[in-house]
């Protein structure tokens, strides 16, 4: 006890303790801080773990990254709290465009990548309509990883059973006529999800927001589109799945397994990921076709053959200490040939990076889709993918549409004009400042 309180002994211990602290500090400085990457699905985590290894092999052997996967809905919640409290923030975030707008209220928390993107020519090589999606005004705040072109996934076996051919579905009028014949046989044609409203509106050139932030600038077109969806439901051409959504694999998978629908409308990632997961036993029984086109009063086509919905992108946190390291990794993932190919081959999404369209691996026929080449169909449709106007209120708008705000029309409990007026009023009534106020 006495020797412990001895002064020289305490001094000796203090010196040793200080030395340990100094050594720890030196080690800490020389030890590269890992780049923290937040991902919104387990499947993507596997992809990013592989990409970190590939980056270490090809670019920087000392690169360290910590990939954290969260649930699709859980991650945006955690990210919002991290930004608000500025605690435990990531360096790179993989964020769906549906949630991206949520973080644009006030000062955007993402690095302005405009100059960096231009410096490496990504402004030319990424599909412009997708790059615009992760931009606010002239500033590029993120890079899109997915083309998110919408197609129709149809059941080959059931089409054969009802003597149908994809070539018969040239226009939505054709679709409605064939659907009525099937409905007479008590067979719905299409799974009907509220999110189709935005998809169909965009296919016709309409928007949820204008460039200046107006809600439903093409209001009459929106009314007509929602009325069309209401008609599909009322005539039992479209089937409202349980929980009213095609994005709930547990419920909707049962509808598909019971042959309750013949077709689903969805983006590339929906076919690559969700359909293959909830209906893996139907390998080879699915086919892919472009959307039927809309026509004018004379019956002439006046729309593109595809639309777009959601899709992931990569953003870099503005407060990060590793902005340059993060950007280099993001650039690698966006431009590397293998990184783009693996994203498609591992069932994540079809890239929005144009040079990747020439990779033969992306254009191969796929057994799951009856040897249709999803890649070739998407490459053909890519130039037609419509623009989406980003807006801080976009997440709330998509949420309100997807979670039932307009479903009442499909249930025949209200008219499209009233529902959309309410939708417009509520969005205009709240949800933060207009875009560009930063």
């Amino acid at each position: 006890m006495n020797s412990f309180l001895n002064f020289p002994s305490i001094a000796n211990r203090s010196v040793r303790f200080a030395l340990i602290i100094i050594i720890c500090a030196i080690v800490n400085v020389s030890w590269a801080e890992p780049v923290k990457i937040w991902i919104s699905s387990q499947q993507d985590k596997i992809y990013y773990d592989n990409m970190v290894r590939l980056y270490q092999q090809e670019v920087d052997a000392d690169f360290q990254a910590e990939v954290q996967a969260f649930g699709f809905r859980e991650m945006p919640d955690k990210l919002a709290i991290a930004f608000k409290t500025q605690t435990n923030t990531p360096d790179i975030v993989q964020l769906d465009e549906v949630f991206f707008g949520m973080y644009l209220q006030g000062e955007a928390p993402f690095v302005d990548l405009t100059d960096r993107v231009k410096a490496v020519g990504l402004d030319e090589s990424i599909m412009p309509q997708r790059l615009e999606l992760f931009s606010l005004g002239d500033r590029v705040l993120g890079l899109p990883q997915s083309l998110s072109a919408v197609v129709i996934y149809y059941r080959r076996d059931l089409f054969q059973q009802f003597s149908l051919s994809p070539s018969e579905f040239k226009t939505w009028d054709d679709f409605m006529a064939i659907g009525e014949e099937l409905a007479a046989q008590n067979q719905p044609l299409l799974a009907l999800d509220p999110s189709y409203f935005g998809m169909l509106l965009r296919q016709r050139g309409g928007h949820l927001f204008s460039e200046t932030g107006d809600v439903l600038p093409d209001f009459e077109l929106a009314v007509e589109t929602l009325e069309f969806m209401g008609e599909l439901a009322q005539k039992r051409i479209g089937l409202m799945p349980d929980r009213s959504t095609i994005f709930d694999p547990v419920f909707f998978g049962g509808d598909v397994a019971n042959n309750e629908i013949l077709a689903i409308m969805g983006a590339d990632w929906y076919g690559l990921d969700m359909i293959q997961q909830f209906s893996s036993e139907l390998e080879g029984e699915w086919g892919i076709m472009p959307l039927p086109v809309w026509t004018d009063e004379q019956g002439n086509p006046n729309s593109v053959r595809t639309s777009t919905f959601a899709g992931q992108g990569l953003v870099v946190y503005k407060g990060s200490d590793l902005i340059d390291e993060s950007w280099e990794f993001v650039k690698f993932v966006m431009t590397n040939r293998e990184a783009n190919a693996q994203r498609f081959l591992q069932g994540n999404s079809f890239p929005a990076y144009k040079p990747a369209f020439e990779d033969i691996r992306l254009l191969q026929p796929q057994p799951f889709f009856g040897y249709d080449s999803m890649g070739q169909i998407l490459v053909d449709l890519a130039p037609e993918v419509p623009r989406v106007m980003m807006n801080p209120k976009r997440p709330m708008a998509v949420f309100m549409i997807r979670e039932g705000m307009l479903s009442s029309v499909m249930y025949g409990e209200g008219d499209a004009r009233t529902a959309l007026t309410r939708f417009k009023d509520q969005l205009e009534g709240g949800g933060g400042p207009p875009p560009g106020v930063n």
Binding site: R73, P76, D77, A80, F83, K84, G101, M102, Y103, L104, Q105, G106, E107, A108, P109, M240, P241, D242, R243, S244, T245, D248, V250, F251, G254, K318, P392, K393, P395, M396, F399, M400, R402, E403, G404, M405, S407, S408, Y411, E413, G414, R422, D425, Q426, G429, G430, G431, G432, P433
Partner: protein
């Protein structure tokens, strides 16, 4: 040494120190967040960077927000329906349990309490199967055998709120029955015997003797259920994915606060919705605490 009456009414410092840890934690984890929430509700909806002080703007916005009023109405309907059905069923079950053989009473009480012991998220996941469109247990075992058309419980706006009520009733009825069973067993036998000898019928004994005697337990049950109904989130989040379902038919106040903060990116307006629940909740609690007391007193002096 005998202490005077006034001395006995004064708290001793020893007691205060015993309670101190509780109040320290209450300040840290309840009053501080509440105060921070209040400040947040007075700030602009800025997620990143400096917020600006907007005063009572978010509260004024709520007054003109039709979705907010829809949420208030839904929450009130949900609370009143859940509480009425739960307490009624719990009273029936508690009475039924009293007449059960003592050996099976324990297992039965435990069985009734299981839903209340389940985490609400697990229970809601279970209810996804109960409410499933055509194949769900409710449709297959009750609705279809009764000859009705199947109901899409989670999508049809006419039935969405009923689904949330059913789930809450299922969760709490057994638990409340247990509390009420304890209260029924604690009634003084001589009072019941005296009422019977005086010629009071079953209904009269229940209203004039039993109800006043179990009033404190009933009040506890009511307060517990009211707080749970106003704080209801996990169940409806799992059932409707954070939305209020079709046409906002099942939109509750806490869900709306979540939407404002985490979908709309407005932590200020989300905090305003959360804090706006306080007067509604306080009003309900005051009603329960005050009105029944008069009723019980009146009943007990009859």
């Amino acid at each position: 040494m005998q202490r005077s009456l006034s001395d006995r009414n004064l708290p001793s410092w020893g007691h205060v120190w015993l309670l101190a840890p509780f109040f320290v934690f209450l300040s840290l984890f309840w009053i501080t967040p509440l105060g921070r929430g209040l400040l947040l509700s007075l700030e602009s909806d800025t997620l990143f960077g400096e917020s600006t002080f907007v005063g009572w703007q978010h509260y004024r916005d709520l007054l003109a927000d039709s979705r907010y009023w829809r949420a208030v109405l839904n929450t009130a309907v949900f609370a009143v329906s859940t509480i009425t059905i739960t307490i009624t069923l719990a009273l029936v079950f508690a009475h039924a349990l009293r007449f059960c053989n003592r050996r099976i009473q324990g297992p039965l009480v435990f069985g009734l309490m299981i839903p209340g012991l389940c985490p609400p998220t697990v229970l809601a996941l279970l209810f996804l199967l109960v409410f499933h469109g055509k194949e769900g247990l409710l449709n297959r075992w009750i609705i279809q055998p009764l000859g009705f058309e199947t109901i899409n419980w989670l999508s049809d706006p006419d039935f969405i709120l009923s689904a949330v009520v059913i789930q809450a009733v299922w969760r709490w009825t057994g638990f409340m029955a247990f509390f009420l069973l304890c209260a029924l067993n604690a009634r003084p036998r001589e009072i019941l015997d005296a009422a019977r000898i005086d010629g009071a019928g079953v209904w009269s004994r229940f209203v004039n003797v039993t109800l006043p005697l179990i009033a404190p337990t009933l009040t506890f049950c009511l307060i517990y259920l009211i707080i749970d109904c106003f704080a209801q989130f996990a169940g409806s989040y799992v059932l409707f994915g954070g939305s209020g379902g079709t046409n906002d038919a099942g939109l509750l106040l806490v869900t709306y606060a979540y939407q404002k903060a985490f979908i709309g990116g407005g932590f200020g307006s989300g905090a305003a919705v959360s804090l706006s629940i306080v007067p509604w909740l306080a009003g309900m609690l005051i009603l329960v605490a005050m009105v029944p007391r008069n009723v019980w007193k009146e009943g007990s002096t009859r």
